[in-house]
Symmetry: C2
Subunit: 369 residues, 2 copies
Amino acid sequence: MMATFESRARDGGARTGVVTTSHGTFETPCFMPVGTRGAVKHLSSVDLADLGAQVVLANTYHLMLRPGVDVVAALGGLHRFTGWNGHLLTDSGGYQIFSLEPRVDDEGAVFRSTYDGSSHRLTPESAADVQAAIGADIQMVLDVCPALPAEPDALRAAVDRTLDWAERGRRRFLDHDDAPGRQAQFGIVQGGTDIELRRRAAERTVEIGFDGYAIGGLSVGEQRDLMLPAVAATTELLPAEQPRYFMGLGDPVGIVEAVARGVDMFDCVLPTRLARHGTLLTSQGRLNLRRAEFGRDDGPLDPGFAASPANGWSRGYLRHLLQVGEPTAARICTLHNVAWLFDLMERTRRAIAAGTFDALRAEINATWA
Amino acid sequence: MMATFESRARDGGARTGVVTTSHGTFETPCFMPVGTRGAVKHLSSVDLADLGAQVVLANTYHLMLRPGVDVVAALGGLHRFTGWNGHLLTDSGGYQIFSLEPRVDDEGAVFRSTYDGSSHRLTPESAADVQAAIGADIQMVLDVCPALPAEPDALRAAVDRTLDWAERGRRRFLDHDDAPGRQAQFGIVQGGTDIELRRRAAERTVEIGFDGYAIGGLSVGEQRDLMLPAVAATTELLPAEQPRYFMGLGDPVGIVEAVARGVDMFDCVLPTRLARHGTLLTSQGRLNLRRAEFGRDDGPLDPGFAASPANGWSRGYLRHLLQVGEPTAARICTLHNVAWLFDLMERTRRAIAAGTFDALRAEINATWA
């Protein structure tokens, strides 16, 4: 296996440990910032290192269209291209493609580029090839992501096709001479909020056998009390010695509740997108810095977060920069939100190790309710 | 005098030395990045310190409209507001106002806000008051900036009104109980490219007596062979023991030629604006990174500038980020251009001290012709 999970401690259903890939190790539970087009907006690889990032995401769909896989490969692959020496993970492109309403058949999906309208085809095989060429440490198998709510028949068809594609994608990945030596590949469990469908999808995906397992098709607008049972139904069937990744989840309550159900890895554009609009993650919950009351506020963004990289500037100053559209504000708020979420993950890891995770979970639920 | 210049070395007409204000000292010749609304675009005060900035500019016009002088003052004045502990200089607002075609009479100028169309009045007295409240280390007297080319009568009238305003602005500045103890005030010599007018303006401005002297109304589109004689005609009449500042000049040839005529300080939005559009300052001259030839270029932005803060990324990567509009590209290119210009100023200071300034001047002229 090209990715393994070694547990250091468990606290109820939550676990903390170390994921090992051919690139090295990272600690979980962890949050992975999203560098859609090869950069987290407003940040460089130096900033990510300063923030203590472990794994950074990039989007296959965007990189295959701009600058193109051949360019990324010619410039040394994704690590050298971005200057980021930590772990990298690429999604399969499936999530973006399905938001474009592609023509889909058993073979794959045909979609139009949002850049120039040109037509492109992605199959389980080409997704594996493209991601091998991009060269992240972890690649994702191509899946079918139906929008929720979905009719039972549509959900079942999506799961069936995802499982078929998983088998083909895994075979193609393993057929590469060198890919297994430098990359891990994660499978994706679909099934919406249907518990039985989730179980079948999880069992069959594990039978196919991947280096890690993702929970896909959730956190797409459904209620949390429908989402969490679907998470639990999935994780309880996943092998303990492989990493587990919840795709597209980044809110504090969602994270601690998924951690409580055995999830290790998270990604989401929300913390960075919120930052650009002046919404901050703080120890008191969300704070909308654009509100007039902060205009003359000389205090820091979050008095409860002494390690924020934004603490050199007042709320009043950053509000002013936001109001007049200065990009420096988006950058500083991005640094703050990413640092805040990394700090939450660090607190989560420590709480699990100390056996105090329930207290942290209760605190986050109370603050962010 | 609240600002003095102490020469360390001369080389022909060029001089290198130290400017002292109540805030401390900075070395000249120097370039001052422009933080229009209280931030240099894409940079924070931490970035400016990392780059080795000495003096940073802010625009009175913009700050008095957003967030308002009272807010800057309530948040501790410009240093605390921006988090920048080096020197700060505010312009008088004159340059921005005159680009808005204000109603001008002997008393002052009435202009409309570009933010909300509201009407505002600026007089030599209120410009001194407003800048005292903003609290930079150096403030500029309110002047009249005619667009070039201008009719001789219009130029003469602008000089006369500028001299009248200089007297009133200086008187108001000195009437403040505390302003002289914490701020310096620079006068501005106008006169377009008319040598006789420049001389009269310089002599009379020096008679009024300021802490330093600026050359205004040049680098506004006129030919360099008309600009430089006007610079020389001004600097030769300015006191040797006060700093000299060429407003709004930032191109390498312009800088070394003005330095050769005894100028100490420069500011310009050009290096940061160019960076945001992907145009780089390099040891080989300007480089437009958006050109297709750089798409697969694995080399650094400027192989001749080993200390560039952008050297962790390839031309191909940064071109890609520019092409897809990622703000990380604007930031990295801004860091590069500002660092490159600071390096030119450092080389200029060293060359003057070593008596080799003519060789540097020839090199810059040959590269940037």
